[in-house]
């Protein structure tokens, strides 16, 4: 994590359209955000796309950053991108189901996960519901406080605490 003074300088540079500052922000956060996307999608290609989308959005939206925690702000965008992806995937799934009924023998299931590279954690994570999975990953990769996470997800802090506790407990049991 960048030191607050360095980070402030980076953000200031980004706001004035400095490519070098953006490059440093990418170097600082790409790994964490990529981990977040990968653990949510289980697919490297999708994670690549989502990561690119995040940094393109960062360039567009940096002017609207009004201080506070940059990580929280960045992960809020990442979270929105993930939910957009999820909605799009569900729409595609519905379309696919309709097509499947029409061309039963021709259409096979779309490959959702990198089955060859997937680890045990990914398998168990995929058994959790998308919302709990997102919350666990948001907490882990953004390193934000519960208060900040509750704000990102626009829900009461008690709900966030309870969901995360239950989710991690369940994950731990599944991993045994």
């Amino acid at each position: 994590m960048a030191k607050s003074n360095d980070l402030a300088q980076l953000i200031s540079g980004c706001k004035s359209g400095n490519a070098e500052s953006f490059s440093k922000v990418v170097d600082t956060y790409a790994s964490r955000v990529y981990g977040y996307f990968y653990r949510l999608t289980g697919n490297r290609e999708t994670s690549d796309d989502l990561l690119s989308e995040l940094f393109v959005k960062l360039v567009e939206k940096i002017g609207s950053f009004r201080g506070g925690s940059f990580e929280s702000w960045l992960f809020k965008i990442a979270s929105n991108i993930f939910y957009d992806y999820l909605r799009d995937k569900q729409r595609r799934k519905k379309t696919l189901e309709v097509l499947k009924k029409q061309f039963e023998s021709e259409v096979s299931d779309a490959k959702e996960y990198d089955s060859d590279r997937i680890d045990k954690l990914q398998v168990q994570l995929n058994r959790l519901d998308a919302d709990t999975r997102e919350l666990i990953m948001l907490r882990f990769y953004s390193q934000a406080s519960f208060k900040e996470i509750a704000a990102i997800r626009s829900e009461p802090i008690g709900t966030t605490l309870s969901k995360l506790h239950r989710g991690l407990k369940k994950l731990r049991e599944m991993m045994k």
């Binding site: 994590m1 607050s4 359209g17 490519a19 953006f22 490059s23 990418v26 170097d27 790409a30 790994s31 990529y34 981990g35 990968y38 653990r39 490297r44 994670s47 690549d48 990561l51 690119s52 940094f55 393109v56 360039v59 567009e60 925690s69 990580e71 929280s72 590279r117 680890d119 045990k120 954690l121 990914q122 666990i136 907490r139 882990f140 953004s142 390193q143 934000a144 406080s145 519960f146 208060k147 900040e148 802090i157 008690g158 605490l161 309870s162 995360l164 506790h165 989710g167 991690l168 407990k169 994950l171 731990r172 991993m175």
Partner: protein, 173 residues
């Protein structure tokens, strides 16, 4: 992150699930996060990072161009506004400064009559004119009272000729 480092999970859980359960909840979270730490996610490819940086640079250039275009069009609009205002202002100023318009009307009198600066000549001409008018008056009276004794038709013709001559002389100046 400062927010996270400063937060006291145990105290936070206490508020929602009470002191007894809070310790266990904190331990569940710690162990769960330990699992996540021990299973590292893959890193993004260096090629992907290079692509992202290139895309950002391209977007910044595009943004810069757009900003310049917007600024240029705004400046042009403001300049056009100023020019228009200045034009209107100058027109308005000129209108206020202009002399009152003269009434221009064609005169039926020869210019020489009005433009002559020689009072003596003008007086002589006036005197001649008056004499001729008086002569005509006398002739008219004579005609009226039949004093000529001549043919009245000739007298009228003669009078007409005289009047025409006077008219021509007069308008010639």
């Amino acid at each position: 992150m400062n927010g996270r480092n400063e937060e006291n999970l145990k105290e936070l859980f206490k508020k929602f699930i009470g002191a007894e359960l809070s310790e266990q909840a904190v331990e569940d979270i710690r162990q769960g996060e330990q699992i996540l730490r021990s299973h590292t996610a893959p890193e993004p490819d260096s090629e992907l990072i290079a692509d992202i940086k290139a895309e950002i640079t391209a977007n910044l250039l595009h943004k810069e161009k757009n900003t310049f275009r917007k600024m240029l069009s705004k400046t042009t609009a403001v300049a056009a506004g100023f020019i228009l205002l200045a034009f209107i202002g100058v027109k308005f100023f000129e209108k206020n400064q202009a002399e009152p318009e003269r009434l221009v009307a064609d005169s039926t009198l020869p210019e020489a009559v009005w433009q002559s600066e020689c009072l003596a000549d003008d007086s002589a001409d006036s005197a001649a004119l008056l004499t001729e008018v008086e002569q005509i008056e006398n002739d008219l009276l004579a005609l009226q009272f039949g004093e000529n004794g001549d043919n009245g038709y000739e007298a009228v013709t003669e009078m007409e000729m005289e009047l025409t001559e006077i008219n021509v002389d007069f308008w010639k100046g």
